[in-house]
């Protein structure tokens, strides 16, 4: 892949795909890498905010009868912590990383709908800002990240607090849904010629599967939160038992989204795992077909588990057992994946660098979380463990072990590609070990606390319960996590200016993103590649090697067929425009306004329609 465009053409091509300068230019940029980098930074800022909220929780709970936060503030804090991490960090960050890497991994110059991509970023950011403004004005939501009705309804949560939460859902789920459409279309229609589905990197498969899950899961929470808003604002009765509604309707709709949601957080990580393990074992992942089938099976199963969040209700026992069986069975495809990775590591030539350390942590932490998940899947066990600190331990083991650790691994792995510089290995190891040890010190004791009777979402506890030592231990662990994240931030800030220069392929990877410079050209590929195998950089180049003939003076991409990536046609994509930003602004006005008056939906629709058209 060494042929180049003539210099004049290359410069023109780069110019075509670059972002315009100046302030208006900043709002007009729609190059997918630009948007993705902003998206990653924004979600990471939310991660830090969510982490600070967690520290506040731990400081309050370090001692019995704590006085750091009063009950009202504490309830806002834990609601904001959960909502931030789940809605403003966990899924969006995956979509952000994917929207950067996918075009590069599939040999494309862009995502399929670049303006919608930009709109999705802006609407997400504005929604998150709205939520935090409410929190800083002391009208933040305080009904928990899953806001059960009737507590979250108009009678027991008066005022605007829960309205902001419910509308934040609308913002973030709209963004997530649009990103899913973009990723599906990009993956299916824009792969380099020759990259059949069978040759797609496993990370691309995980994003395809996740995006389909998003299409079918996120509407449930959108519907649930919209019905909650109408209950609160215009007096509907979806969740009001006195007028024929049902408190459990909320739970069914929410968890129909909520369970797939955690798999939507988990499955992209499996893609990170595959990429990193392949590279640091210096061999392809064992069992490609088994891996893909496992992903698809996991996605299907994930939609059949939601009632396991409702075992303590008075639903029929026989029905609950069905969900126990499904919840246990989903462990099987995940186990297959784990066995395949272990086989890959075992038969490869391992190369211990920071990304791999984070990935290895997954095997310890996620597996522990999975085992406690099996326990929670049992109805009788769940009767004791539900809504106790055991669940808090479980969810953090699976979310941090299954998502955050691989994500940090992914950042260490792809930071050179994004910025052209390597992160410090030394700081990386400190980051890793502090995180790993701190995490276990923080969260392992919570299993015991739950078994010893401590319920969750409590702002304090009496001193005669005997829970004080373990709570203090957990707080110490949380502080270690905070230090480790601080080290990561320092590592990023220093390495951006002074890190070692990375070439196009610092780790010896096999997939296409490593064939371009670091950072990549604005047009990704000056001469897009043709693909003849699963790990193109590890194989001898086939013929033909490269594509030529795409325009240099406007943004043009190559569209290929869905299954076999045969040539189809060329497509003219839009270049920089401020209208996605302006449309997001207009939509924000409509969404926020509608919390205060239903007429906002009518009047606000006009500017939205104008902006969306232009």
């Amino acid at each position: 892949m060494n042929d180049r465009l003539p210099t004049g053409d290359a410069d023109l091509l780069e110019q075509t795909w670059s972002d315009p300068p100046g302030l208006i230019g900043w709002f007009s940029a729609i190059n997918h890498k630009t948007i993705a980098k902003r998206f990653m930074v924004t979600t990471f800022i939310f991660f830090l905010l969510g982490g600070l909220l967690a520290l506040a929780i731990r400081l309050q709970l370090a001692l019995p009868n704590g006085r750091v936060l009063g009950p009202d503030l504490y309830n806002q804090v834990f609601t904001m912590h959960g909502s931030t991490m789940m809605f403003l960090f966990a899924v969006p960050v995956m979509q952000a990383v994917a929207s950067y890497l996918i075009p590069l991994m599939i040999g494309a110059r862009s995502v399929a709908f670049p303006r919608m991509n930009a709109f999705a970023y802006w609407i997400f950011t504005l929604g998150g800002i709205m939520l935090y403004i409410a929190f800083f004005l002391d009208i933040g939501p305080d009904a928990g990240w899953f806001a059960y009705a009737p507590l979250s309804g108009p009678e027991y949560s008066p005022g605007k607090r829960v309205d902001f939460w419910a509308q934040m859902i609308t913002f973030t789920e709209l963004s997530g849904l649009m990103e899913a459409i973009i990723l599906i279309t990009t993956i299916l229609k824009m792969r380099a010629p020759g990259m059949t589905l069978n040759r797609m990197p496993l990370f691309v498969w995980t994003m395809l599967v996740t995006s389909f899950m998003v299409l079918f899961a996120m509407p449930a929470v959108m519907l649930a939160s919209t019905a909650l808003l109408t209950d609160r604002l215009v007096d509907t009765h979806f969740y009001d038992p006195a007028k024929g509604g049902d408190a459990l309707l909320w739970q069914h709709l929410f968890w129909f989204f909520g369970h797939p949601e955690v798999y939507m957080i988990f499955i992209p990580q499996l893609g990170f795992m595959s990429s990193i393990i392949a590279t640091f074992s210096r061999r392809p992942v064992v069992g490609y077909a088994a891996m893909v089938l496992s992903l698809i099976a996991t996605a299907f199963f994930a939609f059949g588990l939601w009632v396991h969040h409702m075992f303590a209700t008075n639903l029929p026992e026989l029905g609950k057992s069905f969900f126990t069986a499904a919840s246990l069975m989903i462990a099987i495809p995940t186990s297959v994946q784990i066995f395949c990775w272990i086989a890959t590591l075992w038969t490869g030539r391992i190369h211990f660098k920071t990304p791999l350390l984070f990935v290895l942590a997954f095997f310890v932490i996620l597996v522990a979380g999975g085992l406690t998940g099996l326990m929670l899947a049992s109805v009788p066990l769940d009767y004791q463990l539900h809504d106790s600190y055991f669940v808090v331990a479980h969810l953090h083991y699976v979310l941090l072990g299954g998502a955050v650790f691989p994500l940090f691994g992914a950042f260490y792995y792809w930071f050179p590609k994004f910025t052209g510089r390597m992160l410090s290995e030394r700081l990386g190891r400190w980051n890793f070990w502090l995180f790993f040890i701190g995490f276990n010190i923080a969260f392992f004791p919570m299993h015991v606390l739950g078994l010893q009777g401590m319920p969750r979402r409590v702002y304090t506890y009496p001193d005669e319960m005997g829970w004080d030592k373990l709570n203090l231990t957990a707080t110490i662990g949380a502080s270690m996590i905070a230090v480790s994240v601080l080290l990561f931030v320092i590592n990023v800030l220093r390495s951006r200016r002074r890190g070692d220069l990375a070439g196009s392929d610092p780790w010896g990877a096999g997939t296409l993103e490593s064939s371009v410079t670091s950072p990549p050209p604005m047009a990704n590929f000056h001469l897009p590649p043709l693909v003849h195998g699963r790990y193109p950089l590890w194989q001898a180049p086939g013929t033909p090697q490269q594509v030529t003939g795409l325009a240099n003076d406007y943004r043009e991409v190559l569209i290929t067929s869905v299954a076999d990536a045969k040539l189809d046609h060329r497509l003219w994509l839009p270049s920089s425009t401020p209208w996605p930003f302006l449309a997001a602004l207009a939509t924000t006005v409509l969404f926020v306004g509608s919390i205060f008056t239903p007429w906002a939906v009518v009047w606000g629709a006009v500017p939205v329609a104008i902006a969306a058209t232009l």
């Binding site: 009950p71 009202d72 309830n75 305080d142 928990g144 059960y148 009737p150 507590l151 027991y156 038992p241 049902d246 408190a247 459990l248 064992v286 088994a290 303590a312 209700t313 008075n314 057992s321 126990t324 069986a325 246990l328 069975m329 462990a331 099987i332 186990s335 297959v336 066995f339 395949c340 272990i342 086989a343 075992w346 038969t347 085992l371 099996l374 326990m375 049992s378 109805v379 009788p380 066990l381 769940d382 009767y383 004791q384 463990l385 539900h386 809504d387 106790s388 739950g450 078994l451 010893q452 009777g453 319920p455 969750r456 979402r457 409590v458 702002y459 304090t460 009496p462 005669e464 005997g466």
Partner: protein, 292 residues
């Protein structure tokens, strides 16, 4: 200082025992999870072994569920428990309606006899959880659930609301006193009848303060005109060990502080402060102490 028990790892009743056995079995099974050594055949065997382990868990779960559902209910004590923001209303039912009585925040149950609890909620979702005796069950407005348990060892067991129910969810606890049947029957008999009328002047004055002030608009005291239902039934307040839903010792100091300003102890509760002249407060406390 070791307080009352609230611990799923120390079962004191048959239902919690069933769950405890399942926990031990599951923990043992999970300890067998091990990494593997070679490639494809091992992957196949490991997957099959995992599937087998899961089936074993499923069978154990089903067996335990069955056991939980089969508690013999002959001669059961019937309690209807209603969750409120942030206290527990308990109505002991009886075949003879005249023998029914109402109390709050503290339950007495006989050791060795089954207890059938009907669960309701008045406002938002609450959850009853007494880990030493049984798993938890949600109390959902508009629905009725039931929970069966039996204490097999005498003791004081602490329960706590386990579904986030608003600002004071953390301070919504319940004491369950499991005692020999004779002691239980004596307690129930005392609860059934109104407390004897006060005789000394201070307590009589205290009763005036109670009936003429805000108290009677929210609280019931059997044998008086006070028939309020927004707050706990106080007919036998002095027989309870705690106030504020299992949170504070039921003594003069705490009770006085609670009446004067509940917001200082449990901010956000629906009971307003009561600024009473000190003499009235003392009288009121004297009266409340007669409600045994």
């Amino acid at each position: 200082m070791e307080g009352p028990l609230q611990d799923a790892l120390r079962p004191a009743g048959i239902q919690a025992e069933h769950i405890g056995s399942l926990w031990n079995f599951t923990l043992g099974l999970c300890a067998l999870a091990r990494p593997e050594r070679r490639v494809w055949r091992i992957i196949g065997w490991a997957t099959a072994a995992s599937a087998l382990g899961l089936v074993a868990l499923l069978v154990a779960d089903a067996w335990t569920s069955r056991a939980l559902a089969r508690l013999p209910l002959a001669d059961a004590v019937n309690i209807e428990l209603t969750g409120h923001q942030w206290w527990w209303e308990a109505r002991y039912l009886d075949a003879d309606p005249a023998r029914a009585f109402t109390t709050a925040n503290e339950l007495h149950i006989p050791v060795g006899r089954p207890v059938l609890v009907t669960l309701r909620a008045d406002d938002v979702i609450h959850t009853l959880w007494i880990p030493n005796l049984q798993g938890k069950k949600d109390m959902i407005p508009g629905r009725t659930a039931t929970l069966s348990l039996r204490a097999d060892r005498p003791g004081t067991y602490r329960g706590q609301c386990a579904e986030f129910c608003g600002v004071q969810h953390a301070l919504m606890a319940l004491l369950v006193e499991a005692e020999p049947n004779a002691d239980y029957e004596a307690w129930a008999a005392a609860q059934r009848s109104a407390a004897p009328a006060p005789v000394d002047a201070l307590a009589l004055r205290g009763r005036e303060v109670f009936l003429n002030g805000n108290c009677a608009s929210c609280h019931t005291v059997a044998g008086t005109a006070a028939r309020g239902s927004r707050g706990p039934d106080l007919s036998h307040l002095a027989s309870r060990r705690t106030i504020g839903a299992g949170m504070f010792p039921n003594n003069r100091g705490h009770l006085g502080g609670w009446i004067a300003d509940p917001q200082a102890l449990k901010p956000g509760v629906y009971m307003p402060p009561n600024s009473l002249p000190p003499a009235d407060l003392q009288a009121l406390l004297a009266y409340l102490e007669t409600l045994k």
